[in-house]
Symmetry: C2
Subunit: 268 residues, 2 copies
Amino acid sequence: MGDYRRVWIHERQGTVNLGTQALSIIGVPDFPEVAGGDCLGTLITSVLRSSTISVSHNDIFVIAQKIVSKAERRIVHLDKVRPSAMARAWGNAHDKDPRLIEIVLSQTRRIVRMERGNLIVENLQGFVCANAGVDSSNVSKGTVSLLPKDCDQSASRIREELEQEFGVALSVIIADTFGRPWRRGLVDVALGVSGLAPLLDYRGKQDSFGNVLKATLIAVADELASAAELVMGKTEGIPIALIRGFGYDVSSGCAQEMIRPAEEDLFR
Amino acid sequence: MGDYRRVWIHERQGTVNLGTQALSIIGVPDFPEVAGGDCLGTLITSVLRSSTISVSHNDIFVIAQKIVSKAERRIVHLDKVRPSAMARAWGNAHDKDPRLIEIVLSQTRRIVRMERGNLIVENLQGFVCANAGVDSSNVSKGTVSLLPKDCDQSASRIREELEQEFGVALSVIIADTFGRPWRRGLVDVALGVSGLAPLLDYRGKQDSFGNVLKATLIAVADELASAAELVMGKTEGIPIALIRGFGYDVSSGCAQEMIRPAEEDLFR
């Protein structure tokens, strides 16, 4: 282990040019169904080693939240849930399973909107989204998945496993599909990040006209998550994509940095 | 013209498999400064013909809004603006140029939030964003850019020019950088779309467990715009990216379809 680690620590300290001009996004095919307790690093390694896809220095793994939740046993059986009065009232009023509402409320720190059948909340990790990220797609009938308890920590653990296996510096993003207030359709965003800075700061830099950029902080981790979704699809069973060619500096940044603080939030 | 048109009309009618597993995003380098009245189709063609980048059937061109605005003479000199009382009051209170505020208000249909120095509005085309998309980066000092008047129409015109030049079916997305209420950092979204459906509808389809997907409408045009931003950067002078390998059916869809109707909007 010692040898490769020296190599990639050296590579890590080098600075990568941000002026990247081409990148590839590769969906990892034939991924097996994930069960509670599985080690995702081991699973990903074995799938990649039996594929034609090689892994390179600074590759970014984007991993669908759903398989992380499954590996971390974040699956709840509806049968085991006793809905509260509020969950029963809301569920019955909007033709939703009161047990599902109860699970959503159990993952909620603050309700942002509870209106017209929609439940937009701030979840226990601070993400504002519909239903606290509780979801019944791509899981067995009668069960729902919760978000991982700490998505940054999950990303960091998987990154460590993958770096040990492949012997190069890598990044990991855990992605989920979120709605937006004023635009129809969902896009993938980054809930967990390890290895790269989620926000790229152009503030203070000059554009080609010599104007100093004032407000340009780009959420590259969210853009990487969205880019990966394009090859993952929702019914195809491609829960992992590899992004290659995105120049970045290795960083200790995490997805929690992307949560807007309450004092800047105009839409509480 | 007749011959290639027959060819690509035939190709257009074919169905492309959506299960794409790899895509490439290529930044188009060495793009010249765009001036009012320039034909972007001609400019793009000449840059690509003198580069090593070839153009293939179903390639998607993502074009930064800024150069479309420049070509369409959507640049305003601050000198020529007389701010209203409201623009003066707001500008002075928040240390912003009242003439800039006046221009923002001139592009506004409805104010969503006017709070703590932020001006979040619904612009004349229906996009909810900061400052109606009026921006002073990457333009000459003393000027600002407005969004194109009709981004879908601009996308459609550029697509037609490019298809005529290259003789293959293509798509065009006009992208700009927008903020989000609860997440820090900006991401690119699609303001104009021609050639592909901006929303991919999974509703009614089954996942691998036989669950029928209920709420999954993916804003692929926004994800494509975000993916392209990763190679464009903000200070590098790469206003165009080519996305290759995204399987899609040719469609008459447009970006206006992505605007959430008022009756579904919980954050007006």
